[in-house]
Amino acid sequence: MDSDTVIAAVSIFTAGITIAIGSVGPALGEGRALAQALSAIAQQPDEASTITRTLFVGLAMVESTAIYCFVISMILIFANPFWNHFLQATGS
């Protein structure tokens, strides 16, 4: 294998692994938060608006970790700096 094949293979593999591992934790956390919010709304329907708003804000906070992983994998596939550098170096 020459080095550009190695770069391509490692980039694609790492992108998949990144989004796979990086979305497990936020998914579990958001599921727990959602379950807690549902039971809280069931107990206190009057507070539904406050609970929903806080839930959304919290979900956004948790979600951002998964989005970091997503952005990293997108960069690896579509805007890989090493890839561009290598293409420039070989002049192809």
Partner: protein, 244 residues
């Protein structure tokens, strides 16, 4: 395959017009011209026009949300937070139009919006409790937390920008990929889901901006906790409406 709509359309000397700038101006024009036309014929009578009704619903909803989040009167925050919300909502909703790229799917736009929030938080905080009071927040639990508070200031701005960008960009990228090998129906479902995501992200962006501003204006206590022990000697002019 582009993951950003920052592709140049037209170039004259050193001025580059790319798709992001074009659609940003389009969204701004829609907001400004629409508001201008609707506010020409405002009435307080029993029969109001549809546009006035829409704007009234929007303004009242925004004011109520700001009041609930910040526990203060929404007056000074309404222009900033409301503009953020409306701009993001319109630019996300228009993404169902073919050929349109949401400006928010470019990291440039979201970074600019997050920078606006980053600048607005100290301005509101200093205007509300003066420079010493605002700076005291950075050593709030103890002086050892100073570097972490400063890092948090930057990291939450980065998170604001990347969250909005990642959500909207992922929607458009997934739609484009699906269009490649699935006929008709699945991309439509993804677009509908993207509409929902866009609305939620706009709401979250505005609410988080409001939460950051409110925490900067409330003597370092969060908008949801109400410790009346420290609040009595604060020289805040706002009326804290406790909803307990």
């Amino acid at each position: 395959m582009n993951i950003s709509p920052d592709v140049p359309l037209w170039q004259w000397e050193w001025i580059i017009l790319n798709r992001t700038i074009l659609f940003t101006w389009l969204v701004m024009a829609i907001l400004v011209i629409g508001s201008w036309f609707i506010t020409r014929r405002l009435t307080s009578g029993p029969r109001i026009s549809r546009g006035q009704n829409l704007l009234e619903v929007l303004v009242m909803g925004l004011r109520n949300q700001i009041r609930e989040v910040s526990q203060q009167e929404p007056g000074p925050y309404m222009p900033f937070v409301g503009t953020l919300f409306l701009f993001i909502v319109v630019s996300n909703i228009l993404s169902i139009v073919p050929g349109y790229d949401a400006p928010t799917s470019s990291i440039s736009t979201t970074a600019a919006l997050a920078t606006c929030v980053f600048v607005a938080v100290p301005i509101y905080g200093i205007a509300h409790q003066g420079l010493p009071g605002y700076l005291k927040q950075y050593i709030k639990p103890s002086v050892f937390m100073l570097p972490f508070n400063i890092i948090g200031e930057f990291s939450r701005t980065l998170a604001l920008a990347v969250r909005l960008y990642g959500n909207i960009m992922s929607g458009s990228v997934i739609g484009a990929i699906l269009l490649g090998f699935v006929p008709l129906f699945v991309p439509i479902l993804m677009q509908a889901f993207g509409l929902l995501t866009g609305m939620i992200q706009a709401y979250i962006f505005a609410v988080l901006a409001m939460v950051y501003i409110a925490s900067a204006t409330q003597n370092g206590q969060g908008p949801t906790e109400q410790q009346d022990t420290e609040n009595t000697d604060s020289d805040t002019t706002s009326t804290h409406t406790t909803t307990s």
